[in-house]
Symmetry: C2
Subunit: 122 residues, 2 copies
């Protein structure tokens, strides 16, 4: 991974702003990265995802799953069960998001520590 360094300002748009926007066009929004993160722990059914993603509605979860499937980040498999169930799994391409997810998770953990720290310091 190329480290960011102070560069010619003109490169800012093509080397930073546009790639970040491309990534967020696919991964952006409140839930998509959390859904992919949950699937790193193993394949899951709709109801399992819903339990992990506390607060998401059925409609929103279905919409986000469809969008991630359309972008080839996860696969949807109908299991031969009665009643019919569907399992979601990361594709190989879905696994390519791992560094993004880990970086966000790490930052989120540190941010929470900081907020808690500041709260106790008053």
């Amino acid at each position: 991974m190329e480290t960011i360094e102070k560069q010619d300002h003109t490169k800012c748009k093509t080397q930073m702003v546009l790639p970040v926007r491309d990534a967020l066009d696919v991964l952006g929004g409140k839930w998509k990265i959390a859904i992919l993160g949950a699937l790193f722990f193993g394949n899951k059914r709709f109801s399992e995802l819903k339990r992990d993603l506390e607060g998401i509605t059925d409609r929103m979860l279905a919409k986000e799953l469809r969008s991630l499937e359309m972008n080839h980040l996860l696969s949807r498999t109908e299991l031969n069960t009665f009643p019919a169930t569907v399992e979601y799994a990361l594709t190989d391409y879905g696994h390519s998001v791992q560094k993004v997810i880990e970086a966000l998770r790490d930052w989120g953990l540190k941010h929470r520590e900081k907020v808690v720290d500041e709260f106790w310091k008053g």
Copy 2:
């Protein structure tokens, strides 16, 4: 950075979904990470940021800058110029987002390559 491995499903919520959500509460939305990314190239004035972030409205840029300032990710300095100008800079805490931004940028670059590839393959 701890690598994600298949773990006990019960850990999924606390070790992944909630930290990712904490991060996105602060960094989420269409523009914030792109704004921070632009500031990695050096301090910028409002008008310079607006040029980098093609498509953002004045109102939205002002709102996002305020939110990032409130979360101590960037600083706002009134310069002693006429007419008055304001410069935005990453704080030390703002620099802590570097890994997130680099991961998103790298993924965005690869995603664009993939999309272009698929287009030409037809």
